[in-house]
Amino acid sequence: MKPFAFARPADAAEAVATVATEPRAVFLAGGTNLVDHLKLGVARPDLVVDVRRLTSREITDTADGGLRIGAAVTNSELAADRRVRERYPVLAQALLAGATGQLRNLATTGGNPLQRTRCVYFQDVSTPCNKREPGSGCSAVGGYTRYHAILGTSAALPDPTAPETCIATHPSDMAVALAVLDAQVQVLGPAGARTIPFAELHRLPGDDPSRDTVLEHGELITAIDLPPLPAGARSAYRKVRDRASYAFALVSVAAVVADGEVRLALGGVAHKPWRASRAEEALRGGPVADDAVRHAMDVELTTAQPQPGVDGGNGFKIPLVTRTVVATVRDLTQETQA
């Protein structure tokens, strides 16, 4: 591990100023992903700035009937919060579907959405990776693609040598739920505070796969706000994985069903939590029977680009994610009628 200096500033503003003035500085919160990256050589900072005790560890009711979650609230605390379990089951279920008890006790609200892809090539510093070493190429294309993206990739048939190629997926379960809940991200940066709609926090690889989010260097997440759901809304998170527990999603679905409205976000299919806006539009105001949901997913997946791979590729995700959405929406609508 490369040597680094360690700082624990007095408050969040000082932490932001410290990181902003040092190009090779990083924030440390729970550390569950960053400390591993320090060991692997994926992250090579000169300065590590500890913010674990500098943001709120409280969950508070907001005036509009929603919740504000301090960035230091752990994933365990958030999943166990009575209000989250009762009002936002999709979020509690997503958190509980991720990682393990030991990890959720460390992982934070601000850190979880900023965890990085588990693409094996990204984590292996001996292989080319445009996300880790911009311009070095993409080892995933034509390699092991079981956990890789089918939506929003940089090109229809990615060129493994092109500098923009990246077919990585975002690994967070929590982030998929936050995407469907229209959460708002409170950020403190060198230029002051700003609010980012959660759906706009993460980015597609575009021409720079090294950037996972729109956050500028030195910007720190201080809280995440959940707006209230419509009266009578039901929500759920469903995850499909290779093991019954402690595995990343092959595909996952976060869904909210309310009167005349279905909201869907997908995990394990793209570089960011994928809000299925086309499917939502196709379902707006209409029936939500299985056939309608299946058709809506066909619409959503018209641009899907399954990747071939030495492991058989990831074309299985197209029927898998469709069936998972159909089953999740069916469960929620039957619950509503019951």
Partner: protein, 170 residues
């Protein structure tokens, strides 16, 4: 680059100077000489390094020691107060819940954390009703212990041991 930190480990205060790169696991094992938490994968995937960190179970291999200056840590070694085994340790013995024993200190610390989390009413992925108080069913224990791997495959006895320690009659 070095930093001075203080840790309370199994009730004893320890002052030490550590390289900032030192994990809590390496500080415990290599600096303090407490070899109860084990280094399995060193990447947060196996659970052998699990300790109670300020009361909650956590992976000591993914925690930087310098970031936990002032923390109170309990290892499996510190659970046996005055030589009397903790109920979880006793249940592991009675239920034959280990073979080689390498993962056991992590399993035991994790189980102590699980029982506390269940007492606090925390749900898990295995909970049918998110808002109900969880029960120590087989599925609940298996899900909550999924971060602790056992290469000997002693799971068939680990789950009953955890349930027994939690007061389930079986």
């Amino acid at each position: 680059m070095d930093a001075d930190i203080t840790l309370t480990v199994d009730g004893a205060q320890q002052r030490l100077t550590v390289d900032t790169r030192t994990t809590l696991l390496d500080a415990l094992r290599e600096r303090i000489g407490n070899t109860s938490p084990k280094k399995g994968c060193d990447h947060g995937q196996c659970g052998a390094c699990t300790v109670l960190l300020d009361g909650d179970r956590a992976l000591s291999c993914l925690a930087l020691a310098v970031a936990h200056d002032g923390a109170e840590i309990t290892t499996a070694d510190g659970l046996a107060a005055d030589g009397e085994l903790h109920p979880v340790q006793q249940a592991f013995l009675e239920r034959d819940a280990f073979q080689c024993g390498y993962c056991t200190p992590g399993q035991v610390c994790s189980a102590v954390g699980v029982l506390d989390e269940v007492r606090r009413g925390w749900p898990s992925h295995a909970s049918q009703d998110l808002t109900a108080d969880p029960e120590l069913s087989h599925d609940e224990v298996a899900e909550r212990m999924s971060g602790n791997l056992c290469r000997c495959g002693a799971y068939a006895n680990i789950v009953p041991a955890v349930r027994q320690a939690g007061g389930v009659q079986a």
